[in-house]
Symmetry: C2
Subunit: 352 residues, 2 copies
Amino acid sequence: MVNTSDSDEASSSLIQHLRSVLPQDGSRDALITSVIPKLLQSVADVAQALRSSHDVAAVGTANTFGDDQLNVDVAAENLIREAIAQCPSIVTASSEEEPIERAVQHTVPSSTSSAQEQYTLAFDPLDGSSIISANWTVGAIFSLWDGPTALHQDPTTGQVAAILGVFGPRTTAIVALRPPNTNTTTTTPPTCFELALSPAPPSSPSQQPTWQLTRPTLTLSPTSRYFSPANLRAAAHAPAYMALITRYIAQRYTLRYAGGLVPDVVHMLVRGEGLYASPATARDGPKLRRLYELCPLALVVECAGGAVLDPVGGGRVLERAVGDCGEKGGVVFGGVEAVREAVEGLVGMGGL
Amino acid sequence: MVNTSDSDEASSSLIQHLRSVLPQDGSRDALITSVIPKLLQSVADVAQALRSSHDVAAVGTANTFGDDQLNVDVAAENLIREAIAQCPSIVTASSEEEPIERAVQHTVPSSTSSAQEQYTLAFDPLDGSSIISANWTVGAIFSLWDGPTALHQDPTTGQVAAILGVFGPRTTAIVALRPPNTNTTTTTPPTCFELALSPAPPSSPSQQPTWQLTRPTLTLSPTSRYFSPANLRAAAHAPAYMALITRYIAQRYTLRYAGGLVPDVVHMLVRGEGLYASPATARDGPKLRRLYELCPLALVVECAGGAVLDPVGGGRVLERAVGDCGEKGGVVFGGVEAVREAVEGLVGMGGL
């Protein structure tokens, strides 16, 4: 196990940054000193496990959704569950691999701050299974909600934080925070930033890796010259989607599409522009899970100043509560102008 | 530095595998025991350097081709040059960052086997600079030629080996070998295989990482349901390319396009199918360098049973010698049937 975050030690600069961007009235102490550091520690642990997971084999089982499970999915799930068990403030958890909200059995006693704060975690331990065998960048997705459940809450106020763990040549993480203000005299604006894991130097390999703040503020410009067309099969029989794609090509936009939600979002955030579309039709239904994928990525993108709309009705993905762990949806996200323009073309497209 | 390949030690299984797939008449001893292990060691070194290179900044210079150089490009170039200096058999080297063939100054004395074998190395130390800041998988490309130059040789017989280093969640490498047979009584067929770097276990972090043979034989099926459209801007004014793209979409093919040559080739090899097109027009000229990109990837794909054609004339990319380090070209590669079909549509397209 990599110990990145024992709060007294190396992660003090991370905690210092979290204190500067979260309410300073003590209401988020457990989030700052325990929950986020422990989840980031699990990202470091998963990264280390992946580095030696050459045998990306199916374990012969399927998760509740019917997806084939890989041995690396199971390893990542277990490492994250271990981290959760060390966070008394995370009272409920569910994952894409085990999509039922359950009370967490903790391995450490609760503290004063954890008694005041209660969070529900929804996570996807390893998003991008289809590309991991090719050694492409994959990610982990974490969505943190206030209270003992993520279901039937207003996602805009209920979901307080999202973390994307990014497993590539480096190990990086995107953190988005939008807790409601408990103290009306101060305001803490939404924020989205990038961290990178600094490995121990070769000269002292037993030293602990630490998280560095590498991009303090990620923002998306309103327009975009990049596009990422997901669920592209839908364009085969949805003329509006085909028209959108061919228009981007004719306008000489740059194609970037890893086919993994995390790398595709991260490319957009780091580049500062982008447009990702994953519409759905009756034949090619929605691909993304609202609780484990859409809500956390929507928080990230909105905190970076972008828009995340539902291509069916054109509303915000976050304006509707999650009713069930298995719900799926379509999405268009990226810069606000780019998204508005794309959704105008898609809303009402045949078959939606 | 990571020492992965001191030939007496941990890499004996790698050397054993190389002996089994290369001529056993002693004519390739330096290639087996020194050149390939040292180049793989440099891949491990670059991977380690990238893991802590959070600051992917331009160094303020451009290489001879006018590309902006990143600090990670320079670091990778230097690590690979160090490895080359330890290979007496590599007598000449050039790179995409410094595209002039120069005699190598060695830091170790030459041995008997190295005196018999002379190789020229052409390499691209870090392909995919545009996606590395987003922490997407990138690669290094190595092309090994018999004799004191890669230029004006028949690439089919002159280029004996190619290595792709793949920097993602894991560190992997693709090795392709097609040396001409020096002994006519034995035949050594072309081969393409994958290795993965096993890091030292957390319990003994000072132990050396080692390369494992993870996929002994990579092969491409003739047809493909995947497509990777590069230089897509060309489709804006080349109707034949636009027609190819829309046909793939209408036929519900799966899009995979990282925009990095190495991850795109590796996806195809690991998946066992794929079609990558990078055609060119007068306005959107060829993007890939023949010596540093096209020749090595063509060796890899041909050794895996695929085809690599020039979309201008429809001939093999490897049927024409490289006349100059700076030459560029278009390409279509992948499964033989898929490539033949795509090139038929593209040859003679407007503007080519």
